[in-house]
Symmetry: C2
Subunit: 353 residues, 2 copies
DNA sequence: CTGTTAGCGCCTTCAC
DNA sequence: GTGAAGGCGCTAACAG
């Protein structure tokens, strides 16, 4: 037996007794007038042969792929949800989305994925904007492929017309102000150096949030990556001396959770002595003990804006709702950065009643 | 200006002053002897023109894509790590992996992804085996594409030669036995109906783990999906009456964490009154209070076996280590199911000292 | 060593 | 309505 190769359009044509052009017309539901009889014959032949169109041939011929690519720092948490939402949105616009993880921001892996996507001639690309990827991305994408960045800072205008960012700085200001207005005698930011851009944004917000209080209130930046979680807590306690309670704003919920564990191990009460605010509003933030005050990530909104803008860049239409949303955000944009607010979810790690 | 289209192999050829065949040979580092001079000229032309091969054309011509597809129930946690590891492994075998999420096991989304992968003529497919996907998968894949399933139960041999499963049943037996040998007076399994196959496996293991003790010890199956977390806990307490401590084995760490929160809210001490064992060994299992006893998912091993088997099915060679590993597992296989052990990580939710 | 020439599977005018 | 033919970008013999 010879290997049963996939049926081609030619097979379908001869099976149905028509020409390949006709088959193509039927398959693509073109508006050219065809007899219902012809259509039926073709459709039957398709089923009978188990025909499945070869998109490589289609794309090659059409000179467009109808495919989009997404590069994430990793799957998991917020990013995983982001990917699923975005896929769904693009699907509604008639595009297919392939998702890739840089596997913990490994530049090599990331470059490999982008290169492959480009070789596959994707019609557009969306990428996170963290870490070093900037330079390589610039190189790779060149003048050709439409690209939109999300959660990226410091990207020159030449590369992207728009960056869709969560407003970490604002959230951080909000966190600090919350601490200050809820009796905290000293405030800290605990981050991880590897956070890069996103980390910087938080720090900036943290400092500006202090405002003029910066001169009078005890505060410090803690690097949990360098000091370790225990080290960071110790440092905070050392700096704050007898002052209580203190407030610690963390890079994310995971770090907040670890700090809670550390406090618990030392018999330090949360929130009576140490108040904590995290970021990401992960599933466990709600169930931890105490539950963690955090910021909700507006995935729906962000993916909507990202998708709408990419479509526009590609000259495609989008649903009216997204279009209006995008316009209203673009109107109040500063520079080429579009900022999205996050909502604080207050829980037990910052108050008790 | 006309749009600067991507340079093609023809452009490179004329730029370098050679024929397209030569360019192709250089690009693909074929073993045909060529003068270093020619090679240099071609390579220079490539960079000068920013040439990037069109994989659609390449694949069409080669009649193979060198691409593989992976279908996941969702990104996040274990599955996200699985995807990253698998990608890396396939890469080392010279294949590219595209990952798709069924977005919470939505059958429509799943079908769409598989169909698209097939239309792209991937050389092979690996898919989780949960939920209803079975039937549609069978339809779709037909006789053609090599397929390996992981974490799937009840798949007929006609579809898959092999299913690579984590041994949830065994882990569950182990959990029960741990409870029994550590003083638990009553034991429970708390799952979620939606767990499907994976849920069934746990239940089976839970029951067989009881063995002959099933007749003498108080036990029950709890459906946290139906009863809610609070309801499940109440039910366990009701059934066990005055007996303490009781042991609750949960579908995953997330559920265990929620139960801990629920216990805490009611002033029930963990592990003194209620012992808990979770599954997945998620990041937060270590940092929660108390930390959660759980089972580590052997992603490295599982991806290795999956990759090796798919490669073999496709007639490709794999590294010796993986080959030997696969052979040893195949040797002790029952049916067409290959089982992987998980390791229990004991933490504070089951003991205190 | 290098160039020529068929395809790969499908789309897309342009006649009939 | 339907069919014939050229082309998309690249590979793979096969000559030279």
């Amino acid at each position: 037996m010879k290997k049963n190769k996939q049926a081609t359009i030619v097979d379908v044509a001869s099976e149905a007794g028509v020409s390949i052009a006709t088959v193509s017309n039927v398959i693509n539901r073109r508006k050219v007038p065809m007899s219902p009889e012809t259509i039926r014959k073709v459709e039957e032949a398709v089923v009978r042969l188990g025909y499945r169109r070869n998109v490589m041939a289609t794309n090659l011929s059409r000179r467009r792929s109808n495919e989009l690519g997404l590069i994430l720092p990793h799957f998991g948490g917020y990013y995983g949800r982001f990917a699923e939402k975005l896929e769904q949105r693009f699907h509604s616009y008639g595009y297919h989305l392939s998702v890739f993880s840089a596997a913990g921001m490994d530049p090599e892996v990331e470059t490999r994925h982008i290169e492959h996507l480009l070789q596959r001639r994707v019609d557009g690309l969306v990428s996170h904007g963290l870490a070093i990827s900037m330079h390589s991305t610039q190189q790779l994408v060149g003048e050709g492929t439409p690209l939109v960045i999300f959660n990226g800072w410091g990207w020159p205008n030449e590369i992207t017309k728009l960056t869709v960012n969560l407003d970490f700085a604002k959230a951080s200001r909000q966190a600090v102000k919350y601490f200050l207005s809820h009796g905290c005698q000293a405030v800290f930011y605990a981050g991880r150096r590897k956070g890069m851009g996103a980390n910087e944004q938080r720090i900036e917000g943290f400092l500006t949030g202090l405002g003029e209080r910066a001169e009078t209130i005890v505060h410090a930046l803690l690097d949990a990556g360098e000091l370790g979680v225990a080290g960071a807590l110790e440092e905070a306690l050392r700096v704050s001396g007898e002052l209580r309670p203190i407030g610690i704003y963390t890079f994310n919920d995971a770090l907040a959770l670890e700090l809670i564990a550390e406090c618990h191990a030392r018999g330090i009460r949360v929130p009576e002595e140490v108040q904590l605010i995290g970021m990401d509003n992960e599933h466990f933030a709600k169930a931890s003990i105490p539950s963690i005050t955090s910021f909700e990530m507006p995935v729906e909104l962000q993916t909507r804006l990202v998708a709408a803008f990419l479509m526009r860049q590609m000259g495609e239409d989008v649903d009216e709702e997204s279009a209006m949303l995008l316009d209203s955000y673009l109107a109040q944009m500063k520079g080429h950065e579009l900022l999205i607010d996050m909502e604080m979810v207050v829980r037990k790690s910052t108050h008790n009643e």
